[in-house]
Symmetry: C2
Subunit: 341 residues, 2 copies
């Protein structure tokens, strides 16, 4: 597999680390994953058909050295020319999420699918905003469109639904999908005020400088939308997701919940309503002893309600360079087996 990595920030470098660590797993499966180009607006873009040295690129990027100083490599003037089945087999799209336009990821994914490349992405924008279109393009081209990292940052929930829960009669799903909010609510349970909890989340690197994507529920809404459309077969848009953030939750409300043996969680839900699937993100009080109530810190959790198995619960890290990098790996292994199931 010849890969193009677009985006070489935290997620891109985590993916490169996972690719290096997973070399034995690829070899065991008789596979080779060769990165033929890396494209990034900040650290530079570089191509080498024989394969780039990822360890070297990681050192260069961490040291602030422009990537096109990689030996025997060509610098890239027109990244779009790389989206070509003669150049690469898979686009690995790792640019940051934009939930308004989907760009630049959406353009990259469209161009790659149009050129007959498989796509693996951790970018929520294109999947949340344009899944039906992109899925149709992938089907028409006979390639795979994979996006494990978009919902639980590498904890393999999408493959769980596709494989192990297939045929179990999925009736709905609920859970905690934003680690920043869960960390803040956990700290507020322990007595911190909202502003202190937010400041602490920023210090840990969970929350962005502009935290509105997290605390206003946009991030969780995009993930709920992806679950609804891609797993449960709904046809919703981001505007259809009922959305309320955690900004109104006061220290008093947190204390009152604790006195009742409950706790606040920002809960995402996808469930069947009278008029088809409904998705919502809003603060809910849940029993402290319930799985969602027991989830503290920046983790994520989903509870799948099924006919055959009752409730199946999965939890894992909500973020992290290596975690999201692992999602790319899982997608690549699935792409390697594409055309099979």
């Amino acid at each position: 597999m010849r890969l193009i990595l677009v985006g070489f920030g935290t997620v891109g470098r985590g993916a490169a680390e996972c690719l290096i660590a997973a070399t034995p797993e690829f070899v065991r499966r008789g596979l080779e994953a060769r990165v033929v180009a890396v494209v990034d607006p900040v650290v530079g873009s570089v191509a080498r058909p024989a394969g780039l040295d990822l360890e070297r690129l990681l050192r260069m990027a961490d040291d602030g050295e422009p990537l096109d100083r990689h030996p025997d490599a060509e610098s890239v003037d027109d990244p779009g020319a790389l989206f070509d089945a003669d150049v690469a087999d898979v686009l690995v799209e790792l640019t940051p999420t934009n939930l308004t336009t989907g760009e630049p990821g959406l353009g990259h994914v469209r161009a790659a699918l149009a050129a007959g490349l498989h796509v693996a992405t951790t970018n929520k924008g294109p999947i949340a905003l344009a899944y039906p279109e992109l899925e149709g393009m992938a089907r028409a081209a006979g390639v795979a469109l994979r996006f494990e990292g978009t919902v639980m940052s590498g904890t393999p929930v999408l493959s769980l639904c596709e494989q192990g829960l297939s045929g179990a009669g999925l009736r709905g799903v609920r859970g905690v999908l934003n680690g920043t909010c869960n960390f803040m609510l956990s700290r507020m349970e322990e007595g911190a005020g909202y502003d202190d909890a937010l400041e602490e989340a920023q210090r840990h690197g969970y929350a962005e400088a502009d935290p509105s994507g997290d605390v206003d529920g946009w991030d969780a809404a995009a993930k709920a939308l992806i679950l609804a459309n891609c797993v449960l077969g709904a046809d919703l848009r981001l505007d259809d997701v009922e959305r309320r953030g955690i900004g109104d939750i006061t220290a008093e409300a947190v204390r009152a919940a604790l006195d009742a043996g409950e706790t606040w969680r920002l809960v995402a839900r996808v469930e069947r309503g009278d008029n088809g699937w409904r998705a919502a993100v809003r603060p809910e009080m849940v029993p402290r002893s319930s799985p969602l109530g027991a989830l503290t810190g920046p983790g994520n959790m989903l509870v799948f309600e099924t006919d055959a198995l009752g409730e199946v619960v999965i939890s894992g890290p909500g973020a992290g360079r290596r975690a999201t990098g692992h999602a790319v790996l899982a997608d690549l292994l699935a792409i390697a087996g594409h055309g099979a199931g």
Copy 2:
């Protein structure tokens, strides 16, 4: 896919119910699963190359009517003659677990693999006692050997390891794998004595009339062994699994744990020791607020420790007719995609 179902007790009938419920999922994937024979020493054995009517067989079995009264069907004098690639594609082996000899399941699985049939089984005996031999036979014959139902009764942990966690760097796993013991320990936490908790577990149908397989840790040990050998690549035998049951846990010990904010769980562990992989099943005190401590009732849970994702936790039902039946379905869908990944 032409299927032979061997074993038409609780698990076999649950599998039949799941097959009926999953017909749309099979159709969606362009598959057909046709049961050409059902073999059971109690309710009778019957074959029909054009396919048996599962709804009718379920009614007959529940009514105590011999299965060979199914219309247009042949009764089966020599079940062994069915294990033939001209007759069937998949053996679905659902007889009860025997951890001493593995029989009758082991003989069924060997005969099917030798004849070039795929195998899907919920029977822990053959997998716990003879996995290396059976896996070698399956590889030589180019067929699949699947056993999702052996570890968490349908909660898809084996496919999770095989797919989503592949390449994540699995360092070890621990968890609660016996629902009977977890139910009993949960009731003892609530004040019940050991004998009352056991009697209640039997009344709910969680525990057998002879509960030693559960309370002495044999069932959990077999499951830990399957995780060790089939997921983590160990080469252990059942005797290598350190095993202690819950029989020594007194009401006083339960109270003392609660006073310390902890609770007893029968914990199965597979982890690296100085001399390779080690597996153990023993009662452990765990914090009540930890995932294992918060798991009450007859459920099961596994905590996977990984390099890339840290801890990934999955929980689901520990037993149940429909749950174990779902495992068969997951195995069949994987078999349908066999040869691919």
